[in-house]
């Protein structure tokens, strides 16, 4: 498929980013670069200096809402993007409604509890959307342990399924960005296939 065809096919697609940290910021930027035009960004947090080791933000953005900072960075890549932002913590009610108009949701939360809530909400209704989750990406090395699995008709999981973040196992740029881009790559595959 040629670049131009890819851009045309992606133009009408909307992607939801649930959490704009390491996974969400990197996946969103990758998808913006290749031609997805519409996004919904959700995150309640602000950019912290400690985020700069892996998240798609810059030093001058410390203290800004991640949704606003990410939106600015994406618009620098493509000023024609349509980006809706929700700077709030998702509740069980808003978990799916904020993403109702999206073709696909990238799950990029930090907390396992939030991942579980989103997955269970998603599975309890048939929205016709796709959900791509990240599960296990702390530390470095271990490239061979990373994989993608289809977990349900429309649910896919990317990650190593085991490495939990801890003091000894911090989240680091390379591995987090690999998993973010596994999610973005799979998103592309699903969005282009479905057209």
């Amino acid at each position: 498929m040629q670049t131009k065809t890819i851009r045309v096919k992606l133009k009408g697609k909307k992607v939801g980013i649930a959490g704009c940290g390491g996974l969400g910021s990197n996946a969103a930027v990758s998808l913006a670069r290749v031609g997805v035009k519409s996004f919904v960004l959700v995150d309640f947090d602000v950019v912290d200096e400690s985020n700069l080791n892996r998240q798609y933000f810059f030093r001058h953005q410390i203290g800004l809402l991640k949704t606003d900072a990410l939106k600015s960075n994406m618009l620098l890549i493509d000023p024609t993007l349509q980006i809706e932002v929700f700077a709030e913590k998702l509740s069980e009610e808003t978990m799916l409604t904020h993403f109702a108009s999206c073709d696909l949701i990238i799950e990029a939360f930090d907390q396992a509890e939030a991942k579980q809530q989103l997955l269970e909400s998603f599975l309890s209704v048939n929205t016709g959307q796709y959900l791509i989750m990240g599960n296990g990406m702390a530390g470095f090395g271990g490239f061979e342990k990373l994989r993608q699995e289809q977990w349900d008709d429309r649910v896919y999981i990317c990650g190593d399924f085991e490495s939990e973040i801890s003091a000894e196992m911090p989240p680091l740029g390379p591995r987090v960005a690999i998993v973010a881009n596994m999610q973005a790559n799979l998103a592309l595959e699903l969005l282009l296939k479905n057209d």
Partner: protein
């Protein structure tokens, strides 16, 4: 009973178990699990009632913090 657990065949020494009993039997100690029996989601509060029988296909996924 013989079941398929996370795509692997397993023999469990019981005729049937609730999903929570199976989780204990298998020593899945992770806090956040998502579970399915025969492709159907079983939410956390239902794991005490959901029964796993011979021939069932069970999926248990551990959700990990980080993202």
């Amino acid at each position: 009973m013989d079941i398929t657990l996370n795509n692997r065949k397993e023999t469990i020494e019981a005729d049937q178990l609730t999903l929570n009993e199976l989780i204990q039997y298998k020593n899945f100690t992770f806090k956040l699990l998502v579970t399915k029996i025969n492709g159907k989601l079983v939410r956390i509060p239902d794991r005490d009632k959901a029964v796993v029988k011979d021939g069932d296909k069970v999926e248990v996924m551990h959700l990990i913090s980080g993202g």
